[in-house]
């Protein structure tokens, strides 16, 4: 499996993980270790940045992975930019997962505010990974303003519904010049493998691991699925067809 490079940083694992919904910080840490992940997103609103004694942060400060703070909770570009600045100062990273979802019910991202915020954050020197709907045009616009990757959703956050946007993900992957990380909705290892077979550069998984009966084993299962899917993509999947393709009688006249 080849390595993934985002903004000059090399990743050997193509599985990114989240930190929400675990039954305890200890279970979370064990699952993250089992996943082999090297990039872990954490919601700023959950952590107490003033006190490094925050139990979540204590379990996250590891050499195994980098922290990717996210702006979950932000409803506007202004709020997201401010949150990113706070994260950079407190956590010492200029990487930011840009999340702007003003809709608290389905947590769907606001494309207009996200584009505005991405442009501003890039200007301020951030490595911006925006969470967005699977909108191919928006992905190109984000690429133009300097996003380091794009993170289109497979289906709504936490829904475990899998790749409901698969046709659009295919277009995004086909067109993109920056890494494509499928984020949100991946509910099972087979979903993750499918995204990787499509040619996604990485996937981000949280709920499916955190709420599994055995989060650690599920994290391992996802790690294997991501590797398998990527290997399949790199090996080159054979094309499929509903009908058997024989030699065509249409061309038989050429042999006469």
């Amino acid at each position: 499996m080849t390595s993934l490079i985002i903004a000059g940083k090399t990743f050997h694992s193509r599985l990114f993980t989240g930190t929400g919904k675990f039954s305890s910080p200890a279970v979370m840490e064990a699952a993250l270790r089992a996943s082999g992940t090297e990039l872990v997103t954490v919601a700023l609103k959950r952590v107490d940045l003033q006190h490094q004694s925050d139990p979540l942060l204590q379990h996250l400060h590891q050499d195994n992975w980098d922290l990717l703070p996210n702006t979950s909770g932000a409803r506007t570009a202004a709020e997201a930019v401010f949150a990113a600045q706070l994260a950079r100062e407190a956590l010492g990273t200029n990487w930011i997962k840009l999340e702007i979802h003003p809709d608290p019910k389905y947590l769907l991202p606001d494309p207009i505010e996200t584009l505005k915020a991405a442009e501003e954050l890039v200007k301020q020197g951030f490595v911006v990974l925006p969470y967005i709907h699977a909108d191919p045009v928006l992905c190109k616009r984000l690429e133009e303003v300097g996003a380091a990757a794009v993170m289109p959703l497979g289906s709504p956050i936490g829904s475990n519904k899998g790749l409901r946007t698969i046709d659009f993900l295919s277009i995004i992957i086909e067109q993109s010049q920056v890494p494509v990380v499928v984020d949100a909705g991946i509910g099972s290892p087979s979903d993750a493998a499918k995204a990787m077979e499509l040619g996604a550069d990485a996937v981000l998984v949280n709920t499916a691991i955190a709420v599994a009966r055995e989060p650690v084993r599920m994290a391992q299962a996802f790690a294997q699925a991501v590797t398998a899917g990527r290997e399949a993509f790199e090996a080159g999947l054979g094309s499929s067809s509903h009908q058997a393709v024989g030699s065509s009688p249409l061309l038989a006249f050429l042999d006469l």
Partner: protein, 370 residues
């Protein structure tokens, strides 16, 4: 347009009759629906759903864990004042109760804050009675400025206010407003609130619209269970929730289901709700809205709380005192109602951890309150 326009298209007696006429077939349809409609919700609330409670509980648990994960939010009320100019037939703060009245001054507030912070809380709910002169906007503005630096998230449960007041309080860092209709039964509402500003049913009914227009991030809805038929009242709560979610789509919503508790001079509840019925209501709300936050206070017993955290609840208070100054000053007096679960927050956190939950003390940051 406000919720009043929607509300007026319904009639209490008709809604009530429709709920009580639901059949097993209606309940089964609701349980199988991919989207639970208001009509389905009525079936889930109805007596016909009682034999299906086990199935409802399993579905409710699954939906809750999927959305909220294995976490439980913790919050605590901070009673700033028990002064009140209303007469409410069921409340310990009622004007006609001759109890010692108290409004906390700056020093007293900060002493309460210090005790609450020591317990580990970052989310606080400010509560007062309704006393416009002593505990009006000037008091709230000042209290928010004083309290805000100490908490990530501040909610408020006070009298209904004007839209502009909510805007001002939001600018000062207020994050959520809880305002319960008490009951949607318009005629009986007047009987329970014979005097004071609170007797204005319409002003209260339209409060969530004012909160929504002011852009407050989160609002809490509910009725006081015990005043009227809880099934009918809860149907109207769900109707209100549905209207608000569609209109103020950027706002988060929570629902509480306070059962009337004994209090000084209070009436015995007109309607008794059993534990089994409260479980049915919690599950019905969860099936109706997989995303709404469901909150349970210390009004309920330890036994009940320890079990329903598995069934749909997403937020708990713990260690609550319902008398102003009650945290720094342990004497139990002047309280709004008696609490049932007196366990310390750390004990509640242990209980949650034993059940596989992460107690969440902070899930917001003031950075988003700009």
């Amino acid at each position: 347009m406000s919720f009043k326009d929607v509300f007026q298209a319904y009639n209490w007696a008709d809604v009530s009759a429709a709920i009580y006429q639901k059949t097993a077939a209606d309940v089964e349809r609701a349980l199988g629906a991919s989207t639970v409609t208001l009509d389905d919700f009525a079936a889930l609330l109805s007596p016909a759903a009682v034999p299906y409670l086990g199935q409802m509980a399993a579905l409710s648990q699954r939906l809750t864990r999927q959305r909220f994960g294995n976490t439980m939010q913790l919050y605590i009320p901070l009673y700033l004042s028990n002064e009140c100019q209303n007469i409410c037939t069921y409340c310990g703060f009622s004007l006609d109760n001759h109890l010692q009245r108290k409004t906390l001054d700056d020093g007293e507030i900060l002493r309460e804050v210090a005790v609450i912070k020591k317990m580990g809380y970052d989310h606080v709910l400010l509560v007062t009675g309704e006393a416009q002169q002593r505990v009006g906007m000037d008091y709230f503005r000042h209290a928010l400025e004083l309290i805000r630096p100490h908490f990530a998230n501040i909610s408020m449960e006070v009298q209904p206010m004007d839209e502009e007041d909510y805007r001002q309080l939001q600018a000062l860092g207020l994050h959520a407003v809880l305002v319960y209709q008490e009951t949607y039964h318009q005629d009986d509402y007047k009987k329970h609130h014979p005097r004071g500003r609170k007797s204005n049913f319409d002003y209260r009914l339209e409060t969530p619209d004012r909160i929504g227009r002011a852009g407050i991030h989160k609002m809490g809805l509910g009725v006081l269970i015990g005043l009227e038929d809880w099934r009918t009242d809860s149907f109207f709560t769900a109707l209100h929730l549905q209207y608000l979610e569609r209109r103020y789509w950027q706002t988060r919503y929570s629902i509480s289901f306070p059962r009337l508790r004994p209090c000084a001079g209070g009436l015995p509840p007109k309607v008794e709700m059993s534990d089994r019925e409260l479980v049915q209501l919690i599950c019905a709300y969860r099936l109706f809205s997989p995303t709404v936050e469901l909150s349970l206070s210390t009004r309920e017993t330890p036994h009940f709380r320890d079990h329903v955290v598995q069934l749909g609840i997403t937020a708990l208070s713990a260690g609550s005192r319902t008398n102003p100054g009650g945290y720094a000053n342990a004497e139990a007096s002047l309280e709004q109602f008696e609490i049932s679960d007196e366990r310390a927050p750390a004990t509640i956190a242990d209980m949650l951890q034993r059940q596989g939950f992460e107690p969440v003390w902070k899930d917001w940051d003031a950075v988003y309150d700009r």
